[in-house]
Amino acid sequence: MSLDQIFFYFFGGIAILGAVLTVTRRNPVHSAVFLITALLATAGIFLLQRAEFLFAAQIILYVGGIMVLFIFVIMLVDIDVALRRVQFTRQRWVALLLALVLGAQVALALWMGRAGFRLPPARPASTEGNTELIGRVLFQSYMLPFEIASILLLVALVGAVMMAKRKT
């Protein structure tokens, strides 16, 4: 069992565990913390796949940005009320069933196609670093999507401000 596998199972296990706990915790703050754990584990998996830039981006954006936002909101909305209520919807059992069946289907599809992607074909390690590569591709082939994404962010910013603003 090689080191890669150790790290993979370590991170993967943490990720799944964090995900499950996220979904099951009663207290949103706890779920947020576990979600952060899961995200960090995912970042680790990215690092495992030599995607350093994405690793950093994942931590900065997801953990440092989005999750802070989440926790903020959790603190703004008074959660004590919600804590004393039933946490799961009426449709929980059927929903659970459906989700599991869906997962089983996809798993079946993957299992039948597993021969397709065993090990990734060995490639020469790219001479230039991951960041430079991403930068080049991003600003050459994906210029337009990049701009559109920035516009999307701007719109989301304005919209969020407008909605969260007190109507005075």
Partner: protein
Amino acid sequence: MIQDLIQFMLRHLWPLVFGVVIVAVLPLLAGYVVLMERKVMADMQARLGPMRVGPHGLLQPIADAVKLLMKEDITPDKADRWIFWLAPLISVTAAMAAYAAVPFGPVFQVADLNVGLLFITAVMSMGIFGIILGGWSSNSHYSLLGALRSSAQVISYETAVGFAIVSGLLLAGTLSMQKIVQAQAEQQVWFIFLAPVGFFLYLVGSIAETNRAPFDLPEAESELVAGYMTEYSGFRWAIYFLGEYAAMIMVSSIAVTLFLGGWMRPFPNVSWLGFLDFLPAVVTLGVAGYCFWRAPRQPVQIQKVVMALFGAGVLLVAGVLGWAASLPETMTERGGILGAFWFLLKVFSYIYGFMWVRFTFPRFRFDQLMRLGWHILIPLSIVNVVGIGTALVLAKQMHWPRWSAISLTTAVTLLIAAWLVHLELERTSPASGGAEA
């Protein structure tokens, strides 16, 4: 499997050692930074500061640490125990993990990541969770308010700081800390001279990010007792404290690496200044001599001894430095040891700047702080990045002389800064409507 692990360990022996060293030394360093701060404060207030514990209070930090360890560890009732326990760890872990990418010297570095600077900022940005969760979990209004304030402040200023860093990155052209330092060596100039506005922005932003005066609203004793740390006591509090000072050293080492030439000595490739390599040895030698000179003049016997021991230690360091300086250029130890000295020197001078600011300026009001961040620093930082980029384009594509391009864009940036400040004064002057909340 075990073999693999051992193989791994061996392959990464030095980084592991460095990591252990850092984790071990950092608390000590932080403690002595505290001592330094108290001394500086005392000096600025015409006092002596701690003198009792050890000669000139040299053992004060250790005493404090011991005291904190022995204090009772209170966990408030109704607190969310688990998170209350988790929060300080997060903050200190974030601060320490960032050190993995800091180059204390050409070799003295845990990992020269390809995305080093990004990694540092990323890990640093996680410190917020320590603050928010701590404030929230202790289930007290002071703490919660302090936490919210502090996180709001940190998030607001992170943007400006990020842009300031980008302005440095544009000049370096790489994210790896080592390469940044080398870039400054090759371009034969510290980036502070190429991006003065960026450095200034980073200075202000870093002060705010570490919640230090005059931006220490989250811990404003006069308003909320101790901010998010109100309910913490004993060792957890110590951990928070450690985290803060670690973060402080962290931001200053980023500044040193990015703007102040990193571990290189001044004018690294001016050969006739080579004697500067012996400066560390000489300085430490002087310190040691001072210690020996003061040793007999200590009031108590034990202090005499301690002083002498301290002098001996410094003497040892001086010896090491001198030996390193005498080594031939090619050997890595030389650069490593000397580099560590220069790096720490620069870091401490930067921190001294922090303290100076702290003891000089009065505290902001929170709306003023936010307005400063959003109305002046962030736009200015964006303008600054654009300016630097323009200058680089002019220099590379148009083949302007770099200095003229840089100074031109800097002048423009400063003009815009003046304009922004003017606008701000207009908006907040009581004549025109006064300050909005």
